[in-house]
Subunit: 214 residues, 2 copies
Amino acid sequence: MPSSLTTSSYAILCLLAIRPWPGYELTQQATRSLRFAWPKSERLLYSEPKKLVHHGMATARKEFVGERSRTVYTITDEGRSALTEWMATTPRPPILEAEALLRLLFADHGSIDDAMAALDALTTDAAETYEQVLRINAGYVDGEHPFPDRVHVSVLFATFQLEFSDLIMRWAEFARAEIAEWPTTEGLGMTERTSEILESMTQRRSVIDPSRTP
Amino acid sequence: MPSSLTTSSYAILCLLAIRPWPGYELTQQATRSLRFAWPKSERLLYSEPKKLVHHGMATARKEFVGERSRTVYTITDEGRSALTEWMATTPRPPILEAEALLRLLFADHGSIDDAMAALDALTTDAAETYEQVLRINAGYVDGEHPFPDRVHVSVLFATFQLEFSDLIMRWAEFARAEIAEWPTTEGLGMTERTSEILESMTQRRSVIDPSRTP
DNA sequence: CGTAACTTACTGCATCCTGCAGTAAAGTCA
DNA sequence: TGACTTTACTGCAGGATGCAGTAAGTTACG
């Protein structure tokens, strides 16, 4: 029943450190702002503030709009110091879950079209994210950030989202060009092109931007 | 008790489509090869083949080495056709879970050192992955791939891992340089530098490689 | 003015997934 | 021969997800 604090708890605590939030808005805000760093289900996002209250990291206050109530959560001093402590701990390595990449890793069990479709899906998703992030940040130029004094971190973080989406699009393009040369998906083994790629790897040369070497 | 087939089930089915595997080796192989596309716990990886058997996608055969038994799983024809069908379905959008990015998104709740430490962790993890992938693929040049006729997909996939790791390292370097200029983490808001970044965004120019424009 | 559709504001539940501990045989090194 | 590691798993508590459901307020339209 107590259930200990997880990374998701601290993610919510981060939002509460900005200002008090009603549960519903907190959940909405979290889905939007955590989507690219710590994506969690709406269900969990609703439960986390309760857990924070249980641990003394936040307080809950019921407000009424007519017959309907909503709970406003506020961070406590204890919550703030716990957050400061957490900020100094070592983060876990990142995790990437990509069904489309899974299809490509086992592309030889499907058709060329299947592989191309997986790459197209990857591109579509990345392009959408890219445009979305761009649109949101364009608004910041005109002072549309909900917390103007946080714009510096927001924008820095956004550069990652853009670079990441861009990488996916460029890599997918590269992969499409490679697969377009395949007669089938299966049993090709060490083709000439595979050798070439392996060679550029040993030289630490990027395959999607050959001018780059570390 | 039945429990339906998930993406993880199909991931294991992909491995079984290559050859029959004993549970233990299957788990080991899955942790290694799925780490960058579909990372799952050892515990789940052990359970999945059982589920596949339950659904008629695989068969289980017990082998004995002295007193100790091990279960060898083999894909069925039904499993192969289910896999073919799955390969043609639309993949879910990718999910990135990065605690270090979460720290940066809320860098203003911690110290400059905390932010730098998060970036360092990101770099360390990415550098490790990069070297690991490079080492493994270097072996493929000398024919060390366990399934030589799959080397073309393996290597294509590896290019993503390298590009991704490389992006993280380059972005982290960029972010470190930005944060190094901050007097504090908090309340900076729209600095001159933030404006500059926003401007290059609207021009769709990469901040870590300014020569690139789509 | 009524009602249908949508938004706000959540909760319960089944099922999925993870982490950790535990078991036990077989192999390896001194 | 004893200690340690590797192979080969299983059980269980608890964290996370998806989906359905509830119910009040708000908006659009005829």
